[in-house]
């Protein structure tokens, strides 16, 4: 028997070519009972390796290859002196020294004599030492991905670790190369001194190299003389020999060269794959003890990641109290606030639920977790940062009472087990939505401060190779020119739906590359092979892990790219798999919009909006929703949502919860949407698969829409406990296991059989559960989102100017581009003013306008009288001024300098502006002039036009010398003709991405009319089935995964947005047109079903409207 104890996975980032799961699969195929993973300078792949091994029944040993600076010359004797004389390597031919002397991953700036020591973990202490060692070396370096450990650190953290002497870049090979056998012996002896002789194994690798064999002979001699055991390993870099190609490509990428120029940096052969006992036995026939020792050492390595030793921190409570007691007190305090004025029945139910939850929290010893999250929320409230818990936490009445979530789970009859269950043995997961940007950062910094630099860290986000990056990097390694690489990257389609034509193959052809050519075929194969392999480590947007004591003894920490941030080496899935509790601090753009809106309303309306106490059944909100007039609103603005809103006809808050949840892959794939809508409209009878399901599905008219309902179904029909039901959901979830699914399905059927449910009903229930569990939305989550959706709708209906300004200040977010948001707001009567350096701030702001001009603008925008009166009455005097942030290329510091100077004194002329704001670059000034932002400057009262300003800017930026610099020079008119409408459009779109003037289509309406193209606003009055033409600017293109290849286009004109549906065949015929044209005309049949209006396309043609580069939001 042989056990591989030195292998590297793709988590060594460009130094290994197989995923940990692949290594384990191969290991299982080879009947290897255990295996060790030693990734480079980290344990990045360890959780996945551990989980995969646990499934396969293989023992997963953990370790790492650690890069070391050369050992101190004071400790080693004279014979090793060359090891420390860096300049000695200069004696060697330069290229040789660089290639042979530098371990694989080391940067050229690092020591050429650095080497890697493979360390295996034998006990928990050893694991903790390894983590601390890695953390020390990583945190010392300011740059990501670098760092070397030092000898003194090794001495400090050697306990519980077993040291191997390594392969080509190990300490033994390094010493042999630079100091000869005496030096090698001394180094190995020194290691034996650090780790103890029983913990040092002299490693032998045989990859059929002559030079390696010489080293092996030296190693055997050293082992004999020092009485150290030999250990055979294969220095594995990939699971099977085929992956050597990828490994070579990674080498080229790492070394910033191409395969053709990498020369001897590439592997000599393909032997670093996982070899079987038989193969290794033949290889080491002369030293059988080296094979036998692998078993002996494996048996000694007791540690696995099951024994991680992670503890959640304790919350400090006043003396004499326990955390549980403290939590109880806080919960009941909250209960009074939340349920104090509720009905008696609700109070009783809530009290019962809270008691039940508290008992379970106590049993699972989780009060600390709840208190820490409560503390975080309390901090946010104190700092006036909007915060709302979401996800499954919203199922908990304790969370609701503590103020973590905003949805009443008792009132809404949500299922607690979805959040926490005894059976599952998993840690709860609380997600907090915070305004994205600085506010969220403050909360993160609060956590760091409270739990210390090594007590809290962000979870990592493993960046993997996806199509674009794969295409680019593989091409680069093969030596393709940048232009070709750009083409391939651009051709990589990101449509969600992929038809049989939408393969890599076709993308290459789209880029003009012929796959029949062997080199391009190889390129293609590499691109496919590298998919999903990790490229580097990023930082997760919000996941934070906290630990009692030192987090760096649980998982190595490293600096993130963002200064002041520390990140763990595992992603959030890995942390969850290993039972590490995390808090997700998610930046939600809409939270920031709400917060900014409230501030603007406070400043300009002198009104205080409290999101927790918004009017519950606002008629305007529901009327707007029913008309699907929802651009900019949270979660209900997409085309798919809009096509459902008029049919659903939301009248209550619960309808919004349903609306948020229904347009999801789960209900769509499970074909729940139509039955629900039909039943809601009374066109279909409400029925249940079994009468016992009525209480569960009554609220959703017999159609399951939420995950909780599926759990309840299992509980009702098959007598599952809450925990078992959640187990069922997980079994059906993303990481599906066929075996587990079959087991649970059998259990489900047995339960149903027991309850006398008919076979037919059983089938229906099993089908709905299997198709739904994967993509369904939890009701609690939908409810949390629905609250935000309602708030956004309320603000848009009643405070359009403030809401739009906040929305524009928090871009990018949502479904639409700013240009569409502005046009929508204008159609609703908001006056949007262009960027003006004499008025604009960095952000979009509100300005008082005379009521007359506002009325005029509303009329010219052609909005409906109803909206006019609503909005006109209240806010006709408020207009939105675009902020300087929308001037493309203008840096914030320059803009802020401009605003500062303006606040001191208005600018007398463009020259004055240039003189006083030296931060502004020429290109920034040109941009400002081009979009008319400088038109209002000027003395003498004559108005400038954009080209006058451009003319002045060009003069002002040329230095006239110190003598003339101080002289004021008035702006004069230029000899240039003013821009015409088309030129203004081009300039606006180029430099702001939008126009506040008329829509481009408005200039061509007469021509469009002549072509028979109807306005978007006309469609409502045209009968169903009529043949017609629509046309406009493409603002969104979608090919959803659930729509069987249909493409949905949103075409905007000056009156609104029209939707077109394109059949897959028609799309194939017009692929380029649909994918890239800015303005399109669609001819087809009008479909008006329950006020959901779209045109079923029969013909698509490009429209000549403007040269301005409009943009669309594509590929959802």
């Amino acid at each position: 028997m042989y056990i591989e104890l030195h292998s590297r996975s793709a988590f060594s980032f460009l130094e290994g070519a197989s995923l940990p799961e692949k290594l384990i699969d191969t290991c299982a195929d080879l009947d290897m009972p255990a295996m060790a993973l030693l990734d480079r300078d980290g344990v990045y792949g360890a959780p996945r390796f551990h989980m995969a091994a646990a499934k396969a029944g293989i023992k997963a040993h953990i370790g790492a290859e650690i890069t070391f600076e050369p050992f101190s010359p004071l400790i080693l004797s004279h014979s090793c002196s060359r090891l420390h004389q860096q300049d000695e390597s200069k004696d060697l031919p330069q290229q040789y020294a660089k290639k042979a002397g530098t371990p694989r991953g080391l940067k050229s700036t690092q020591n050429d004599n650095a080497f890697c020591i493979p360390l295996l973990v034998s006990s928990r202490v050893g694991y903790q030492n390894l983590c601390r060692l890695i953390t020390k070396m990583k945190l010392r370096e300011t740059r990501k991905g670098e760092g070397m450990a030092r000898e003194e650190e090794l001495q400090e953290h050697a306990a519980g670790l077993v040291c191997l002497t390594g392969g080509d870049d190990g300490p033994l090979a390094n010493a042999l190369k630079y100091g000869g056998i005496e030096c090698a012996k001394e180094i190995v002896g020194h290691l034996a001194g650090i780790f103890g002789p029983q913990n040092v194994y002299v490693e032998l690798q045989r990859h059929f190299h002559r030079g390696q064999e010489a080293r092996n002979r030296a190693a055997m001699a050293i082992a004999r003389s020092l009485h150290l055991p030999l250990l055979a390993t294969n220095g594995v870099c990939y699971a099977t020999s085929r992956e050597r190609e990828l490994c070579d490509v990674f080498t080229a990428i790492r070394s910033h060269c191409t395969l053709a120029t990498a020369g001897r940096l590439l592997a000599r052969n393909s032997e670093r794959f996982l070899k079987s006992f038989a193969e290794m036995q033949v290889l080491f026939a002369d030293v059988p003890e080296a094979i036998a020792n692998t078993l002996e050492l494996s048996a000694r390595l007791e540690f696995t990641l099951k024994d991680l030793g992670y503890q959640f921190p304790k919350y400090p409570v006043p003396e004499g109290e326990t955390m549980m007691l403290f939590l109880r007190e806080r919960t009941w305090e909250g209960f009074q606030q939340r349920y104090g004025r509720a009905s008696a029945d609700l109070q009783v139910r809530a009290r019962r639920q809270i008691e039940r939850e508290l008992k379970l929290i106590e049993k699972l010893d989780l009060p600390g977790y709840f208190l820490i999250v409560w503390d975080l929320v309390r901090f946010c409230r104190a700092e006036k940062i909007l915060v709302q818990g979401r996800g499954s936490a919203a199922n908990s009445a304790v969370c609701y009472s503590l103020g973590i979530t905003a949805v009443d789970p008792v009132g809404m009859e949500l299922l607690f087990e979805r959040f926490l269950s005894e059976q599952r043995g998993e840690m709860p997961d609380i997600d907090l939505d915070l305004p994205s940007g600085d506010q969220r950062e403050r909360v993160i910094q609060y956590l760091y401060k409270r739990y210390g630099e090594r007590g809290a860290a962000m979870t990592a986000n493993v960046i993997t190779y996806r199509s674009r990056m794969a295409g680019r990097e593989m091409g680069k390694a093969l030596g393709f020119d940048p232009e070709t690489l750009d083409k391939v990257s651009a051709a990589v389609s990101t449509w969600e739906y992929r038809d049989q034509n939408d393969t890599f193959d076709h993308r290459f052809r789209d880029a003009g590359l012929d796959l029949n050519h062997p080199r391009l075929r190889k390129y293609f194969e590499l691109c496919v092979a590298v998919q999903d392999l990790p490229r580097h480590l990023g930082q997760h947007s919000g996941g934070m892990v906290i630990c009692q004591g030192q987090l760096d003894s649980v998982v190595p920490l490293e600096p993130a790219s963002m200064p002041g941030r520390v990140v763990v080496q595992w992603d959030k899935e890995d942390c969850a798999d290993l039972g590490i509790i995390k808090v997700d601090l998610l930046g939600l753009g809409m939270m920031a919009v709400l917060e900014d809106s409230i501030q603007l309303i406070r400043n300009h309306h002198q009104e205080e909006v409290d999101l927790a106490h918004l009017p519950a059944n606002d008629a305007d909100v529901y009327s707007t929703l029913q008309k699907a007039d929802t651009i900019g609103m949270f979660q209900i603005e997409s085309r798919a949502q809009m096509s459902c809103l008029p049919r659903l006809q939301a009248k209550t808050f619960y309808d919004i919860v349903v609306q948020v949840a229904i347009i999801r892959p789960g209900p769509i794939v499970g074909q729940m949407v139509n039955p629900y809508l039909q039943r809601r409209q009374g066109r279909e009878a409400v029925t249940y698969a079994h009468p016992s399901l009525e209480p569960v599905l009554k609220r959703t008219l017999g159609v399951p829409l939420f995950q909780e309902q599926l759990l309840r179904i299992a509980m009702v029909v098959a007598n599952f406990s809450g925990g078992e039901a959640e187990e069922l959901r997980r079994a059906m979830g993303f990481k599906r296991s066929e075996k587990r699914m079959r087991e649970i399905e059998a259990k489900l059927r047995a339960g149903m059989e027991q309850n006398g449910i008919s076979r037919e009903a059983q089938e229906q229930i099993v089908l709905s559960i299997t198709s739904f569990a994967l993509y369904g939305f939890p009701e609690s989550h939908a409810a949390s989102f629905a609250l935000i959706a309602y708030a956004s709708a309320y603000l848009k209906c009643h405070y359009l100017a403030a809401f739009t300004a906040a929305l524009l200040n928090n871009q990018p977010m949502g479904f639409y581009r700013p240009a569409t948001i502005v046009k929508d707001a204008q159609r609703h009567g908001l006056k949007v003013l262009p960027i003006d350096v004499t008025r604009s701030e960095w952000n979009c702001t509100l300005e008082l306008q005379s009521a007359v001009s506002a009325q005029h603008s509303a009329k010219s925008a052609g909005r409906s009288p109803l909206v006019e009166s609503k909005i006109g009455n209240r806010h006709s005097t408020l207009a939105l001024r675009l902020g300087l942030r929308y001037a493309r290329g203008l840096r914030e510091e320059a803009a802020q300098a401009l605003v500062r100077q303006r606040n001191l004194a208005q600018f007398a002329s463009i020259r004055d502006l240039v003189h006083r704001v030296p931060e502004l670059r020429k290109d920034e000034l040109q941009t400002l002039a081009e979009i008319g932002a400088l038109n209002a400057i000027g003395n003498g009262g004559f108005p400038l036009h954009r080209r006058d300003a451009l003319w002045q800017v060009e003069r002002a930026v040329r230095l006239s010398g110190p003598l003339l610099d101080g002289l004021p020079e008035p702006d004069t008119t230029s000899p240039l003709r003013p821009m015409d409408a088309e030129e203004r459009l081009v300039a606006d779109f180029r430099s702001t991405g939008m126009t506040v003037g008329p829509h481009p289509m408005a200039y061509h309406r007469a021509r469009m009319h002549a072509k028979g193209i109807r306005k978007a606003s006309d469609l409502r009055s045209i009968p169903n089935g009529q043949h017609l033409r629509i046309g406009g600017c493409v603002i969104a293109r979608q090919r959803p995964g659930t729509a069987k290849g249909f493409v949905f286009l949103s075409l905007e004109d000056e009156t609104g947005v029209a939707n077109a549906i394109i059949h897959p065949d028609l799309f194939q015929q017009n692929r380029l047109l649909v994918s890239s044209e800015q303005f399109l005309m669609v001819e087809g049949i009008l479909q008006n079903q329950d006020n959901v209006i779209s045109v079923k396309a029969e013909r698509i043609l490009p429209l000549e409207v403007t040269r301005a580069r409009t943009t669309s939001h594509d590929f959802y």
């Binding site: 590439l266 052969n269 590359l513 062997p518 080209r947 003069r955 040329r958 240039l976 030129e983």
Partner: protein, 527 residues
């Protein structure tokens, strides 16, 4: 002083169409780059109308029907350019070679010789057309105006004096920046003019000059002058190339090399005398022979019919150092012709030399003595004639794991090498891991038959080398290597170091198995 400019639109296409005039009416696309990444470099108007654009890939244009694809030929472009120069030089000796597709000539005093200016312009266009080049020609009072007009207007344009600004005014601004797209300053100016709404030269011409100079500096003023047709400059005349060429037309075709050598000797002496008179030497000799095609030899007739036998026979001698010794040249040419006989009777001979400055007479004082260049070259040429050209020179090791990964370099004199070769040249170093006892390589390797047991060779036999035959007493290996898997000529091999029992004692060999073909070879023997 009138000037004319002649401009060839889409020169790369026209250069190709000169040899394939039948394609004129078709859409022709010229591709550039190496397969498989060829891209469109130029196209004619038909192709442009068919939607072809610069930068499209071969595959993309292949999908368009009725397109004729050709690969860019620099040779043909040079020939077209030479033809263009010939054309204008037949009108005027004062010629400026502005770009491969643009030539300006001074017409001063030519009216009396060739007639009025419009006629000269037409004649120029006509002459170019006879050379298979469709050009536009413009005549104006200054070279720049003529150039802009030729590039902007098709056909023949004559701009009367004082009408420059008016005529040029119709041209788009891009004309000013043609051929300067990569220049950053030009890019900025193009953008500025676009922002200003200046799309035509007349608009630029109309701007106030002082204000313009305040904004765009000298360059702006210069561009405005160009737009107004107000620049004035003298031509930068094209210097006639130094042409060292000798030719002999033979009354009777030559068949034997000996009389050819006699004639060559005469020509070489002439050439050397001419070079010497200008204190020049040469490093490159080109011999071009015209052959008799109707040669009464059945085999040759066949070859002519198959298109294999050429009418022209050409050889080029390149020497690493400049020399001027007709005898050496003669010997070198003789050796070369012996190795590459023309294969048919010779009717005409052209011999040309590329002039260069001669090398200093003496090497450095402290340089080690080296053989005389002339002698060395002759020796090398003699060796090359025997062993083949690709087998003479110095080795340059390639950075690869591939065994024998090297290429041959021509010997270079020490002072001519780019950098002195220190013993640390990276490519010539062997990895110290690979150092073994001396290995005598067999070239070519000896094919052998090998018996294998349990994956190890046990017996070896060779038909060619009788001594390599016997039981393998001991074998170390396999030493496995493979590489270049991304190329078509990927390789993979196993090496064994073996000991074979032979008559006088034990012999050690390097045995190799090519893993792709399965062949066994003995590559060398160890001392």
């Amino acid at each position: 002083m009138p000037f004319a400019c002649i401009f060839v639109p889409d020169l790369p296409v026209q250069a190709l169409l000169r040899t394939e005039p039948e394609l004129r009416s078709q859409a022709v696309v010229v591709l550039e780059g190496e397969t498989p990444l060829q891209k469109v470099f130029a196209m004619n108007e038909h192709a442009r109308r068919a939607g072809v654009d610069r930068g499209m890939t071969r595959l993309q244009v292949e999908t368009c029907a009725d397109l004729v694809l050709r690969t860019r030929s620099l040779l043909q472009e040079d020939a077209a350019h030479a033809a263009l120069l010939d054309c204008v030089q037949s009108f005027s000796p004062q010629v400026e070679d502005v770009a491969p597709d643009t030539v300006v000539l001074d017409l001063a005093g030519l009216q009396t010789l060739f007639g009025p200016l419009p006629k000269i312009a037409r004649d120029l266009a006509h002459r170019a057309s006879q050379l298979c080049l469709e050009c536009s020609v413009a005549v104006a009072s200054n070279p720049d105006t003529a150039m802009l007009a030729a590039r902007g207007f098709s056909g023949v344009t004559v701009i009367p004096q004082a009408k420059e600004a008016e005529q040029l005014g119709r041209l788009p601004m891009e004309i000013l920046f043609a051929g300067k797209q990569d220049d950053a300053e030009s890019e900025q100016l193009v953008e500025t003019f676009q922002r200003w709404g200046i799309h035509y030269l007349r608009e630029l011409a109309a701007l106030p000059s002082v204000a313009l100079s305040e904004r765009l500096g000298e360059r702006g003023v210069y561009l405005q002058k160009l737009a107004r047709g107000e620049t004035s400059r003298t031509l930068i005349p094209l210097e006639p190339p130094l042409n060292f060429q000798e030719a002999i037309e033979l009354e009777h075709p030559l068949v034997l090399l000996e009389p050819l050598a006699f004639l060559l000797s005469q020509m070489l002496e002439q050439l050397c005398a001419r070079l010497s008179s200008r204190a020049l030497a040469t490093q490159e000799l080109r011999l071009e022979l015209e052959l008799q095609t109707g040669w009464q030899n059945d085999e040759l007739v066949d070859r002519v019919e198959r298109g294999e036998a050429r009418q022209h026979f050409q050889r080029t001698l390149r020497i690493p150092v400049p020399i001027l010794d007709s005898k050496t040249f003669l010997k070198l040419l003789q050796l070369d012709l012996k190795a590459h006989p023309p294969g048919a009777p010779i009717t005409k001979m052209h011999l040309s030399a590329e002039p260069v400055r001669p090398r200093p007479a003496q090497n450095g004082l402290f340089l080690p003595p080296s053989p005389e260049t002339e002698k060395l070259e002759l020796t090398l040429a003699r060796i090359a004639a025997v062993v083949g050209e690709d087998r003479v020179g110095s080795l340059q090791l390639l950075d690869t794991h591939r065994r024998d990964g090297f290429r041959m370099q021509h010997f270079a004199m020490p002072q001519l090498a780019a950098k002195p070769r220190a013993n640390g040249n990276s490519h010539s170093q062997q990895n110290s891991d690979d150092l073994v006892t001396a290995l005598r390589i067999f070239r070519p390797p000896v094919a052998v038959t090998v018996n294998v047991q349990d994956g190890r060779p046990t017996h070896i036999a060779s038909h060619k080398k009788k001594e390599i035959d016997g039981t393998i007493l001991w074998a170390a290996g396999p030493w496995r290597s493979s590489g270049d898997w991304w190329e078509q000529d990927g390789w993979a091999r196993d090496e064994w170091d073996i000991a074979v029992q032979q008559e006088p004692g034990i012999a050690f060999y390097r045995l190799v198995r090519d893993l792709l073909s399965g062949r066994w070879l003995v590559e060398g023997s160890y001392d």
